[in-house]
């Protein structure tokens, strides 16, 4: 077949290698990311469902209808049951209101129970096999000091005695630490009846845990359940169960998708560029073929067949590369983190292959479309310009590719649109800015040394090409900057949730008379702690004498009781942005105590300085005047308050005290001592929750890093494609210059300057684009506050210059190493 012979000849002469390589990379990068994110997503869902203990949980205040069990079984659902309630636990003279959970032997369906043989031990945690046997109980470490018992002792739950055999370190469905039900006691469901604690009217939650190996089975199961469930039952999935963690996971997934989209775009740019070069080189060839009697139809068929065969081959190779890459990434992560990644699904493979086709159709074909229409007369009149597809159409197809790929990949339109918008902005800005900057560089160049002059002259001579290259470099750099910033700020945000040494335990319910001794105890032990804040719970009832509930306002603070405090010193993460702190503040004529309001609450409630508020605290009335408005960091893990009053303002409302402290893992036994001395205070062990979140975040963050590297490779490929486009012309010029006696150093130097100028210009433009893109992403997709990235404005042009000039010089090395005689001869 002629097309195949032509394909082989074109390949041999190197004309298709770049296009083929770009396609391989497109499919490879996209495939690797698609496959890997798919695996990660599946594993993350699995991992996070481990937090729920199941894929879905039906929660009810009444026993689950036993008729449903066989039905669920028939539908292929795995099931398990748990019953939770609060009950007194006795040991000798001691008793304690514990959170009890009775489970059957299949519990949990996802994730596992982690136990230890010692209380508050830093090591020795193991994954439990099964659940407590009948007659046994596994308990939260803090239950031991509370009941003054050791492992092996027995405790009474209702009418039944259980032997405490293990410390329960971690369980799925650990729940929200702030709704702490008291220390956990885990027992076997078989024993439940013998305790006789569940009486009509007891507050009990029945949980029916469900899981399925296939999404379809699960979905159909849930559909069936939604029909069957009564008003007492509720289906819980991860989203409802663990809001905070779900957000983190969503952000992580979005980031990976974003990286994948950017990878596609970079590969697309490389494909478009190499297709353009291919087309340019083939104009003469097509004109010749047509003068030899080939019709437009024949030419079209010949080229389409070549492209199709090329794309198929490249896609297959790309897919193999993708498979190898994703296996390598997964291997790295698995060996580093002892996590088991699930195998990828079928869809990413199909999607990767489709990427090759889409990339070819949308990026390569528009650039090649005019080829069959090249007039045969071009063999006689070389200056004849063929009817190229208008640039706007080429852009349209590229945009189409982006939308289609993003739609296929992420199903996230907001993401696609902000990427597109930023691309358009960049292209518009590029044209204007690049022209201006180019002429500026010429003016500077006129007064500079010879190397520099040569570089600027080269830029000017290839004005159109320079513009295109600047556009390409800026797009590539813009995407890379964006990725970098998004990653950095996201990782920073994650870490902000968990600062090093951040408080990881909350102590609440401290009575007034224990404040001083507890402070002393903590300080004697050198434990890093926050101040003890007095706290009363109250409800905001009136704003400026208007009933707060009747005002048309939406804010958390109106829906429930809120924590109120007073203090004379601001915590370090608090900052007054309006009004004055107590040192400078003066009561007004109304002589009301002052209150400092958190910004978000002030905005939500429409409060301004001087507004008068009325609170109801346990039936008593508390009035105050807004003295200042504050911002604070809700992620600081310190006690934080919407409303802070003037010192002493709450004294008559008998407050209890709250604080948070940092306790490293090895110091955890201190909790034994603390709780033994002050049994009534409540300790919330945030470190357990933090650890769970951190495990997930570490996984995602590492994956993100690898994805970033792969995308960077796509960017490098683009730069090479662009440099390659100008290589032939450069070789001629350099040969001429060298024939005329220029030293290699001079030529390489001018190449370096030329690309450095390109890089700086592209860097500047890229930053503008990246800021626009980031703004869109931060506002609409990631919901991170917008702020300029000053370091980018310095690092951008420098990085651009370094990267582009480095690659440019590397790409152009052959220009000075080929003997000039050979080049000049080829010219003839």
């Amino acid at each position: 077949m002629l097309a195949l012979r032509l394909l082989w000849r074109n390949w041999r002469s190197g004309e298709l290698k770049l296009l083929g390589l770009a396609l391989v990379i497109a499919v490879g990068v996209v495939g690797a990311i698609a496959l890997f994110t798919d695996r990660l997503e599946r594993s993350l869902i699995q991992e996070s469902n481990a937090l729920l203990g199941a894929d879905r949980v039906v929660r009810s205040s009444r026993p689950i209808n036993p008729d449903w069990f066989p039905e669920a079984e028939a539908r292929g659902l795995q099931q398990s049951q748990a019953v939770t309630f609060s009950s007194m636990v006795f040991a000798g003279e001691e008793m304690y209101l514990a959170g009890i959970k009775a489970v059957d032997e299949r519990y949990p369906l996802r994730g596992n129970l982690v136990v230890n043989e010692r209380a508050f031990a830093a090591d020795g945690n193991v994954v439990a096999e099964g659940v407590p046997a009948p007659g046994e109980a596994w308990v939260d470490g803090r239950l031991l000091p509370l009941l003054d018992i050791a492992l092996g002792d027995t405790v009474g739950v209702g009418e039944y005695e259980l032997t405490v055999t293990r410390i329960l370190v971690r369980e799925p469905d650990g729940g929200n630490p702030f709704n702490a039900m008291g220390a956990r006691l885990l027992m076997n469901l078989e024993d439940l009846e013998r305790t006789e604690v569940i009486q009509p009217g007891s507050r009990v939650t029945y949980q029916w845990l469900l899981a399925a190996d296939s999404d379809t089975v699960l979905r159909q199961g849930v559909e069936w359940l939604e029909e069957a469930l009564g008003e007492h039952e509720r289906i819980i999935d991860l989203r409802t169960a663990q809001q905070g963690l779900t957000n983190t996971l969503d952000t992580g997934q979005r980031f990976l998708l974003l990286a994948a989209v950017i990878g596609v775009l970079l590969a697309g740019v490389a494909i478009a560029l190499s297709a353009r070069q291919f087309a340019e080189r083939h104009e003469d060839q097509v004109a010749l073929m047509k003068s030899l009697g080939a019709g437009a139809g024949q030419v079209r068929r010949l080229y389409l067949t070549q492209l199709l065969v090329l794309a198929t081959g490249a896609s297959l190779i790309g897919l193999v590369l993708a498979e190898i890459a994703q296996r390598a990434i997964a291997w790295g992560i698995q060996s580093g983190f002892e996590v088991q990644l699930l195998a990828p699904g079928f869809y990413p493979y199909v999607f990767s292959l489709l990427t090759g086709v889409i990339a070819l159709v949308c990026f390569a074909l528009p650039a090649l479309w005019f080829l069959p229409g090249v007039p045969p007369l071009k063999v006689l009149r070389r200056e004849l310009e063929p009817n190229r597809l208008e640039a706007s159409w080429q852009l349209f197809f590229a945009a189409l590719a982006v939308v289609v790929l993003v739609a296929l990949f992420s199903r996230d339109l907001a993401l696609a649109l902000s990427v597109l918008a930023a691309l358009l902005v960049v292209l518009l800005i590029t044209l204007g800015l690049a022209l201006a900057l180019l002429s500026l560089s010429r003016r500077i160049g006129a007064s500079a040394g010879s190397i520099w002059r040569l570089a600027v002259a080269s830029l000017q001579r290839r004005r159109a090409e320079s513009l295109i290259q600047i556009a390409v470099f800026s797009v590539a750099l813009m995407l890379l900057f964006t990725l970098l910033v998004v990653r950095t700020s996201m990782v920073a945000e994650w870490q902000a949730t968990l600062p090093e040494g951040a408080p990881n335990h909350f102590l609440v319910n401290i009575p007034e008379h224990q404040v001083a001794p507890i402070q002393r105890l903590l300080d004697d032990e050198n434990i890093e702690r926050q101040p003890l804040y007095p706290m009363v719970r109250g409800r905001l009832t009136e704003i400026n004498d208007n009933n707060a509930r009747e005002l048309d306002l939406e804010h958390n603070t109106l829906r429930r009781e809120i924590n109120l405090t007073w203090t004379d010193s601001l915590a370090e993460d608090n900052e007054i942005i309006e009004g004055l702190w107590w040192d400078d503040w003066q009561r007004s004529d109304a002589d009301l105590p002052g209150v400092s309001v958190e910004l978000d609450a002030a905005t939500g409630l429409g409060l301004a300085l001087g507004d008068r508020l009325r609170f109801s605290v346990g039936g008593l009335e508390l009035r105050a005047e807004v003295a200042s408005i504050r911002t604070l960091d809700w992620n600081s893990m310190r006690p934080n308050f919407y409303f802070i009053f003037e010192p002493g303002a709450l004294d008559e409302f008998s407050p209890t005290y709250i604080t948070s402290m940092y306790l490293p893992a090895e110091d955890k036994p201190f909790l034994n001592q603390l709780l033994r001395q002050y049994p009534t205070i409540l300790v919330m062990e945030l470190d357990r929750i933090i650890e769970q979140v951190q495990r997930v975040i570490t996984q995602v963050s590492n994956a993100v890093q690898l994805v970033l590297w792969m995308t960077l490779f796509g960017g490098v490929l683009v730069l090479f494609a662009a440099v390659n486009g100008s290589l032939a012309a450069r070789r001629q010029e350099s040969a001429l210059l060298r024939a005329l006696g220029s030293r290699r150093q001079l030529i390489l130097g001018s190449v370096f300057y030329e690309f450095a100028i390109l890089g700086v210009l592209a860097g500047v433009i890229a930053i503008v684009g990246a800021e626009v893109l980031l703004m869109g992403l931060q506002l609409f997709v990631l919901e991170i506050p917008v702020r300029p990235h000053y370091w980018l404005w310095i690092a951008g042009p420098l990085a651009g210059a370094a990267l582009v000039s480095g690659l440019g010089v590397a790409g152009c090395r052959s220009v000075v190493t080929t003997p000039p005689g050979k080049v000049l001869r080829e010219l003839a």
Partner: protein, 225 residues
């Protein structure tokens, strides 16, 4: 000579619109070339020689007038139709050789045959390359060949598809005198053997003299001779 007309052009005009307004390149040019005849078109640079050649060969269309090539009326055909006529009857030789740099000498000669789906393309190409004295250079690429050698490959390519009419636009324009003379010899030798009709543009007196007839184009008007 069979007496039939291979090329028959009547009242050809060519006008193009440029930035400076309309430009008339050819003024009512009529020209006929008999089968087997050889014709030289001479004239100063910019007089419209290449434009005329392009129209006669069916690469371009006249603004008005009619052109018949090998008995087919070109002006009634679309580009696909003209391509068919070119494929069946026409060969070209260009000043700049127009060899594809990525293809070996042999492959360059094979290309028109392959495009036509001729069987035994490789053997035929080899034969013609031998005919122009390049048997030893079959697998060489154009950049590795001298200008004269490249033009010989182009001549082999033109004759290998055994066209009835050959158009040449300054075939010796890029060659030195000695090499040019050799190329001219080769061209006419093959032309005589194959009985091809030959239309060539040249600045060179030597070349024009060897043609059966010559016409001169000045400022788009034919000064017949």
């Amino acid at each position: 000579m069979t007496g039939t007309l291979m090329v028959d052009a009547r009242d050809i005009e060519k006008r193009v619109t440029t930035a400076e307004g309309e430009l008339q390149i050819l003024h009512r040019v009529s020209l006929s070339v008999a089968d087997g005849e050889s014709l030289a078109i001479t004239g100063p640079s910019g007089s419209g020689k290449s434009t005329l050649l392009g129209i006669l060969a069916g690469l371009d269309t006249p603004t008005s007038g009619s052109v018949a090539l090998a008995g087919r009326e070109l002006t009634t055909l679309d580009e696909e139709g003209r391509a068919k006529v070119r494929a069946d009857h026409v060969g070209f030789i260009f000043q700049s050789f127009q060899l594809l740099p990525g293809l070996s000498a042999l492959e360059n000669v094979m290309l028109p045959l392959e495009l036509r789906g001729v069987s035994g393309a490789r053997e035929r190409a080899r034969e013609f390359l031998a005919r122009v004295g390049l048997s030893e250079r079959l697998s060489h690429y154009p950049p590795q060949l001298s200008g004269g050698e490249q033009q010989r490959v182009a001549i082999a390519r033109a004759f290998a598809s055994q066209p009835r009419v050959l158009f040449a636009d300054e075939p010796t324009g890029n060659l030195d005198t000695v090499t040019g003379a050799k190329i001219i010899d080769l061209l006419f030798e093959l032309n005589r053997e194959q009985g091809t009709t030959l239309l060539l543009i040249t600045h060179e007196e030597r070349l024009a003299e060897r043609c059966g007839r010559r016409v001169e184009l000045t400022a788009g008007e034919l000064q017949g001779a």
